[in-house]
Symmetry: C2
Amino acid sequence: MSDLSVVKKNRRQHILDEAARLFKEKGFGGTSMRDLAEQVGMEAASMYNHIRSKDEILEQICFQVADQYIAHLTEIEQQPGTYVEKIRALLRLHVRLVIEQGDAVAVANHDWKYLTGEKRATFLEARRLYERRLAALIEEGMAQGELQPLHVSVALFTLLSAVRWVELWYRPERDISPEALEDDIVTLLMKGLEK
Amino acid sequence: MSDLSVVKKNRRQHILDEAARLFKEKGFGGTSMRDLAEQVGMEAASMYNHIRSKDEILEQICFQVADQYIAHLTEIEQQPGTYVEKIRALLRLHVRLVIEQGDAVAVANHDWKYLTGEKRATFLEARRLYERRLAALIEEGMAQGELQPLHVSVALFTLLSAVRWVELWYRPERDISPEALEDDIVTLLMKGLEK
């Protein structure tokens, strides 16, 4: 990649990052391209050299997040290890992505509703497929006797839902490190609250 | 209570129930008093004999739900039993209220944002107090050695968040009974997914 195209790529990612921050703060509907240009410190006209529309920004953010979850899931599926280890790794991933990219994850979790047409259908299909693959890990873990015999969908959605609050709560100044937060959530979900 | 006032109270509750259904389906903003009158099969004018405004309906729904959670929590706190038993009872309560009154719980969970002024402040204070009392049960359970030693807020919010999906997923035609659903969620959260 030429130096110029690297600069252009970084600039584009910077616009996406700032957009995610604004969407989370003011809502997708409440954020204008003018707000965004101001936030990134560019003239609106030159911002359009990097990105065409608010819809395109939303698509980029949602699919970047989805792609990361899917890439990590693929890696975890292919690694050797028990189902317990795989599910632990996935729970850690869910917590870590929120800590490291909270704005983008929040946008992908909430503002995907503003995706339209084929993009929306593709995003929802990717999410469904991700859930099915995670459900398959849970089901196989139960079949192998590693996991409690529960209703697979109930286990799946309880796990996914159980980590959703982190997005609303976590800030670097909280009295817990990211690692301890991951540990505590994984312990509660895998070992249970009871001692 | 006179027969007439019983009829009036039932009529009022029927309006609230149908309002909760419409708010969940079309959103608080997307539901008009005209929609509601049509849904309950009354003239708008006579509906106003029972209820003054959409804001009043929202307040009633939110506080009825909050009052139930608080009343059950008070009962659970006062019952004899271990902390494990108390927290199990509370988790069951959270699942059961969603199954039995899913529309109203959904409105209280999401549309409280449309409460205004003092009502909003009172509702949020009630929610914070509920969370603090549940956190106290968790903390005492840890102090007694009944529960895993985790960050109290992390345990609290993981539990509360872990049951939130039920509202979106549960329908009577699902392939699981309400009791089995309660059992599976409580088992996962208290005993862990690992066998």
